[in-house]
């Protein structure tokens, strides 16, 4: 039975149910909107390379989840689903991250037909060796495009410093070499292992009838409830980074850097959300645009408006990052660590803490305007086992001591690694 949860404070409500086949279904009503969005996601991504098929453990090539994403749009005896959806005016796309593959469309017309097609093509694998071959060329170009991007290079440079062998080190799309080993057999095997309703989430946002969405999902999707394959990311790695520095040279106008620190294993349930907010608040109080440190570094020209920070929690691991353009990344890192030390010793400015919490509340509220962000966040929350709509309450519950505790635990010099991309010297 579909159940309605209402969240008066933020003016939102959501219909939700776990179907007998294990699919987690969410429908967020948005009266007055012309467009509707459907988002169908699998808890399977670039890091899920080693898993148990039921007949033993297998290792799959880097980039296979992303390759599968490209090929799922093929439909037996009909045109590519991307074409059909686009032909109806829908704007359809898909993406693969470290721990998720998602297929989605947004449309202002023919929503039910589009939803039916989305559910059908994602749950029905159909590959031929010929079509796999053809896709290899397109994906190779996508990989090369991304490899020319300095921000991606500096990011994977950092992950390779932080981790010794964890699969998060490898780019989600793999490399031109690693995708050579992917064939239709491998793709079928991965689909069977992970694309099972109990490992998936369907989110619909828009002015749609929840009962009808449910009916379509029940009709189209398989009715059996089977668990996804068990996966293995390897043994937990040590607290300190594998390497302290990495650097490379590319066609960039100014050196960029990204520094990072491992923050333990990824958390589950409501803890996961609380940890995310604690970390985000801590980092924003330490080096966000309203912090004294940010303003000093900015005025001194050590950072510019490309400076940013993030906390990531994915595929069994979590880590924090910060960086941007800078002529002197070491100096920026030292100043960040010094400021963290000061905050740990003297405590946080209580006014700044309260203001940052207000700002976070506003930011969460803003997130509800964006269908993309609502869908994505609901899917992440469903996979991690918490209620996304409770985010404003969780923000409220974070204390100044939580934030200080986070800083004391993680902002330590021996845990920090720095990756940089510098200009090519001529």
């Amino acid at each position: 039975m579909l159940k309605l949860s209402e969240y008066g404070r933020i003016g939102e409500c959501v219909w939700h149910e776990v179907l007998p086949n294990g699919l987690k279904l969410f429908v967020v009503p948005k009266p007055g909107y012309k467009k509707s969005m459907a988002f169908f996601a699998v808890n399977y991504g670039g890091a899920d390379r080693r898993f148990d098929t039921g007949e033993g453990w297998v290792d799959t090539p880097a980039g296979v989840a992303h390759f599968l994403e490209h090929k799922m749009f093929d439909v037996e005896g009909a045109e590519n689903a991307m074409m059909t959806l686009s032909g109806r005016g829908a704007s359809a796309n898909a993406f693969t991250s470290t721990d998720m593959t998602a297929y989605h469309f947004e449309s202002t017309d023919m929503f039910s037909e589009n939803l039916e097609l989305l559910l059908k093509f994602v749950s029905t694998p159909y590959f031929t060796q010929e079509s796999v071959e053809k896709e290899r060329g397109i994906i190779a170009q996508e990989i090369k495009m991304v490899e020319d991007d300095p921000d991606t290079a500096v990011y994977y440079g950092l992950l390779r410093c932080l981790y010794r062998e964890d699969p998060v080190r490898d780019p989600v799309a793999g490399t031109v070499e690693s995708i050579q080993d992917i064939d239709s057999q491998v793709l079928y095997m991965c689909h069977r292992a992970f694309y099972t309703p109990s490992n998936m989430v369907l989110v619909v946002v828009g002015d749609q009838d929840p009962a009808r969405v449910r009916e379509t999902a029940v009709e189209v999707l398989p009715d059996y409830n089977a668990p996804a394959a068990e996966r293995d990311y390897g043994a937990p790695e040590k607290e300190a980074p594998e390497n302290l520095h990495a650097s490379s040279n590319m066609e960039v106008s100014a050196p960029i850097f990204m520094a990072g620190i491992k923050t333990g294993e990824s958390r589950k349930g409501q803890d996961s959300l609380k940890f995310q907010y604690t970390a985000s608040l801590a980092l924003s109080i330490l080096m966000g645009s309203s912090s004294p440190l940010y303003n000093n570094l900015y005025s001194q020209g050590l950072i510019n408006d490309t400076f940013g920070f993030d906390i990531e929690s994915t595929a069994g691991v979590s880590y924090l990052t910060f960086g941007g353009e800078s002529r002197n990344p070491e100096q920026v890192c030292l100043r960040v660590l010094d400021e963290a030390e000061r905050l740990i010793t003297t405590g946080l400015d209580p006014d700044l803490f309260i203001r940052r919490k207000k700002a976070f509340y506003g930011r969460e509220l803003r997130g509800f305007n964006s269908f993309d962000s609502v869908c994505y966040n609901i899917a992440v929350a469903a996979f991690d086992g918490y209620d996304y709509f409770k985010s404003s309450e969780i923000i409220e519950s974070v204390t100044s001591e939580d934030v200080r505790g986070f800083l004391a635990k993680y902002m330590r010099p021996e845990l920090l690694a720095i990756s940089s991309v510098n200009e090519i010297e001529r």
Binding site: R9, K35, V252, S290, E325
Partner: protein, 429 residues
Amino acid sequence: MQEVYNKEIMPGVELTCIHTLKFKTGCLSMTLLVELDKKTASMNAMLPDVLRRGTARFPNMESLAAELDDMYGARIVPALRKKGEIQCLGFYADFPDDAFLPGREKVLERTAGLMGEMLLSPATSGGRLRPEYVDTERENLISDIKAEINDKRVYASRRLVELMFKGERYGINTMGSLQEAEKITVHSLTKHYKELLATSPMRVFYCGAAKHDYVERVVREALSGLPRAAVRPVPETHVPDSDSTAQARYVTERMDVGQGKLVMGYRLGEAMRRPDHAALMVFNAVYGGAVTSKLFANVRERLSLCYYASSSVDRLKGAMFVSSGIEFSKYQEAMDEIERQLEAVKNGEISKSELEGAKKAVVNALYSALDEPGGLESLYLDKSILGLSIEPEDLAAMAALVTAEQVSGIASHAKLDTVYFLTGEERDA
């Protein structure tokens, strides 16, 4: 349909208000419209960045950021855009709607007030913009101009525009040039800033839950210190007639990259005499602007030449750009195919499904933009600059009626002007 209110509230200041209860946040923008000019482009580009460094009341970024945090994370960001040959500069804000905040916060009023302060009462010393702010932001602008090289796709497009429109205002980079940026002084920027406030037409846009009379009042109040002199008209974008005898130019440049970037620039010539905006949008979607387009279906899907191949049309300048990322060795093959597909559109080889898909994509994009505050803001700024009297919903209705003949009619005027190819370094074998 949304409730739209439009009025000139002060000399040369036009306010557009859209009243809607759909969104959780309100959006407010203030934009000055200035003719793109080599001499002033860099000053215009950096001005919003200097102004948001501090106001008389909040003299540094830290105190400004604290005020914004206190307004539940309202954001006021510098906005710099190019629309045809007009440089649009100013601020864009979004902020939580009062309905979802504890107590009566008056965040719209505070945001408008703060944006007005940024525009009209910046932090100064000795009557001029603060030298330390001008210095850092000049350096930031210089590094931003240099940073265009970091995204090769963007870089290749900028290079094409520079080459193709050399001698026209359209060829001027929105950020100006290194040479001009380096020359900026506190004195020149302050003088230019005062002149802009006195003479540039301004567009103010709001969408959200507030009623237009209230919005008008808070915006008037926020801009009450605007020192208006004789306001200039909105600058026009020059669309030259196409020269039928001119040959296309081909430019190749080398860099240490793994993927080649091909950008081709076309002029739409006579199709721009009395531009049919709905047909231009559908033409672009048929040719390369949508997934159902000829470029996507052929260059990517049929020949696997690339990950992306798409077209875009600038309806102000009457220009079309095709952009693709390819293997170095596929330059000729990709270019030939891109040309062949345009020929097909010219010859009216447009299937029913291609036309329908394109029309639906245009309609969907227009309707979807109406569901996003940022989309609405951009649509209405375009509408105002293009001088269009029709609402986006009507434009969508017109797009749905465009015929294959109209589409091939536009294609027949498209003339290749310049081809730019960014390729890898020559290496020793």
